[in-house]
């Protein structure tokens, strides 16, 4: 019954997320499914996403922590590594996942990704092209989107 132990890990992680949240990040599990979390991330200061509050969903698959959690933006965001469906291009959510990582570290990585877009490894190719050709204009669009979709 390996899940027994790993369910306990999930419970411990959840308790810590609720009791001692990382700055700018909230995560709360659904009452009916403890593996499904509603997450909000504040846009990091100094980034085009400043003052925005982005909603995400996080799901811990059955194989967690051997397999990475599945994270998706619910709020529209203009970011070269996040596509229209909210999917995130982040290495630790894919091949660089390690069982030593946890929900908190994943969300901090996502928050860091907002501060440092990486157009060289794009997911939304048009946004990445925009960032590469005219970063200021792209940041302006990002700010507009943040104000438009992530200010509520």
């Amino acid at each position: 019954m390996p899940l027994c132990s790993y369910e306990q890990r999930i419970i411990k992680e959840t308790e810590r997320l609720v009791a001692d949240p990382a700055p700018g990040i909230t995560a709360s599990p659904h009452d009916d499914n403890l593996r499904y979390f509603d997450v909000t991330i504040q846009g990091p200061e100094g980034s085009p996403f400043q003052n925005g509050v982005f909603r995400l969903e996080l799901f811990l698959p059955e194989e967690y922590p051997m397999a990475p959690p599945k994270v998706r933006f619910l709020t529209k965001i203009y970011h070269p590594n996040i596509d229209k469906l909210g999917r995130i291009c982040l290495d630790i959510l894919k091949d660089k996942w390690s069982p030593a990582l946890q929900i908190r570290t994943v969300l901090l990585s996502v928050q860091a990704l907002l501060s440092a877009p990486n157009p060289d490894d794009p997911l939304a190719t048009d946004v990445a092209k925009h960032y590469k050709e005219n970063e200021l204009d792209a940041q302006r669009v990002s700010r507009e989107w943040t104000e438009k979709y992530a200010s509520g």
Binding site: P2, C4, P65, P99
Partner: protein, 504 residues
């Protein structure tokens, strides 16, 4: 991991926590390349997903995994944990490595299979013995049949002994209410409450109130109450009196027994106190008896046959034949008896002349060979010195009186014996002196005769031989003294011889 992770009593040191399961290591293993430690199960699962170290992502193969240092193993194995049955109620805590043993053998809240053969249920170890499962056999309280526990409810609803039909009102009732129903059933036959006073009424309970209003005994209920109370008091008193009588009877038995003992101990001295008391208390009878010639025969009524038997037993030589002699003869015999011979017994002797007479007859009947010979002793001072074997006993007197009399007799006897001895001594001495003198005179006479014979012989010899002293020298040659001695002795004899001869 094969078992749910235990609950640790204290928050464990973070250095002992596996980064994969976020719990203290279980069977820790170390990657020799990068020296990171994980639970064995955790790292094996992790490697199945990706062949790299979860911490530094360096390449890692399952062959590089080795058991961790024994120190680490001990550190995690000795962490204090709570029993995994804590939710059930077990408050046991122990080292993690001992937890399995606790649950397997000791924990009272561990689930174990029910002991019943066909039961698949699991119960707490502490409840195992008292556990009632569906397969346990129980006994129906009513019909005492053995039934499976899970069938008991169904059985109860159709148990034949659960209901009974009242014989009087013919209504079916549950058994449990049988006692209350019998005491309250309206159709049961009851008797009037004054039955013990004599009311013969008998009928159903529902008719009882109607009867009570007409019952003649009911109207004198108060009288009955008083009477009952009085009866009870009398019964109590009776009981007390009975007890008292019982006590007295037992005391009487004891007294009778003691009396018998005293009677047998006293022997012939035991007398019926009624004869004494009557004779003592009524002086008239005392006066009457000696005056009447028939007094002795009437007084014999006082003597029971047992008295005679006891006396014959004590004095086998005494015959009672003389008792049938006429009272007149007795009087005659008594008058013949010298007055000093009467033993000076206690004054009780005077009270009943009949006993005195009996005493006399007994002595008369005794084989006394020489009654009058008492007087033949020259200085007989004692009242009596009988030579027969029977002591002068007076059964009329008290035991002490008789003994006193006997003692006095013995004293008198001894004094008379003493004086007798002295007298005979004096007589013997006198006689011996006289005889001695006579023997002495005879001896002197004999000596004189011998001397005379000797002289005659000497003279004769001198006449035959012609010389005087010749024969003396023949008899005693060389001894000139003998004849002189002989002569010197012969002279007084010769002088005295005429007297002795004349005497002879």
């Amino acid at each position: 991991m094969n078992s749910p992770s235990p609950i640790y009593v204290e928050a464990p040191n973070q250095n002992l926590v596996c980064c994969i399961c976020r719990m203290p290591f279980v069977d820790p293993c170390t990657n020799q390349a990068c020296s990171h430690t994980f639970c064995r199960d955790c790292i094996i699962q992790s490697l199945a997903h990706s062949p790299q170290c979860p911490i530094d992502r360096s390449t890692l193969r399952i062959e590089d995994i080795h058991p961790a240092d024994p120190i680490i193993r001990s550190l995690v194995d000795e962490l204090a944990v709570k029993c995994s049955n804590e939710s059930a109620g077990c408050l046991h805590t122990c080292q993690r490595q001992l937890l399995d043993a606790h649950i397997k053998t000791d924990c009272p809240y561990a689930l174990v299979p029910c002991s019943a053969h066909a039961c698949a249920e699991e119960v707490f170890r502490k409840d195992k013995d008292g556990h009632i499962c569906a397969h346990t056999s129980v006994t129906c309280e009513e019909c005492e049949k053995s039934i499976k526990y899970n069938e008991l409810e169904a059985h109860r609803s159709r148990c034949p002994k659960r209901f009974f039909q009242c014989e009087d009102c013919e209504i079916e009732q549950p058994c449990s209410s049988r006692a209350t129903h019998t005491s309250s059933c309206y159709a049961v036959t009851v008797k009037c409450s004054h039955e013990h006073h004599g009311c013969p009424w008998e009928g159903r309970r529902k008719d009882l109130p109607a009867h009570t209003t007409t019952c003649s005994y009911e109207s004198i209920k108060g009288f009955f109450a008083i009477q009952d109370a009085r009866n009870a008091t009398l019964d109590n008193q009776n009981m007390l009196l009975k007890q008292k009588i019982d006590t007295l009877e037992s005391q009487l038995r004891v007294a009778q027994f003691e009396l018998r003992c005293a009677q047998s101990a006293l022997g012939p001295w035991f007398r019926d106190s009624t004869s004494r008391s009557t004779s003592v208390s009524s002086p008239s009878s005392q006066l009457l008896i000696p005056s009447q010639p028939n007094g002795a025969s009437s007084s014999r009524l006082y003597m029971s046959p047992s008295d005679q038997d006891s006396i014959t037993q004590y004095f086998p030589d005494i015959s009672f034949d003389d008792r049938h002699t006429s009272p007149l003869a007795e009087e005659e015999q008594r008058s013949q008896r010298p007055a000093p011979d009467r033993p000076a017994f206690s004054p009780l002797t005077q009270y009943s002349s009949s006993h005195v007479s009996f005493n006399d007859t007994s002595f008369n009947g005794a084989p006394i060979p020489n009654w009058s010979s008492t007087g033949s002793f020259p200085t007989g001072t004692g009242p009596r010195s009988p030579q027969n074997i029977v002591a002068p006993l007076n059964l009329n007197t008290t035991l002490e009186g008789s003994l006193q009399g006997l003692r006095e007799s013995v004293v008198a006897l001894s004094t008379s014996l003493d004086s007798l001895g002295r007298r005979s001594d004096i007589a013997l001495t006198n006689e011996a002196l006289r005889l001695n003198e006579e023997v002495m005179s005879l001896r002197a006479a004999l000596h004189g005769l011998r001397m005379q014979v000797h002289t005659i012989m000497i003279d004769h010899n001198a006449q035959v031989t012609g010389r005087g002293p010749g024969i003396d020298s023949m008899f005693v040659p060389g001894d000139s003294q003998w004849p002189s001695f002989n002569l010197s002795r012969a002279h007084p004899m010769q002088n005295a011889s005429p007297n002795s001869i004349t005497k002879l």
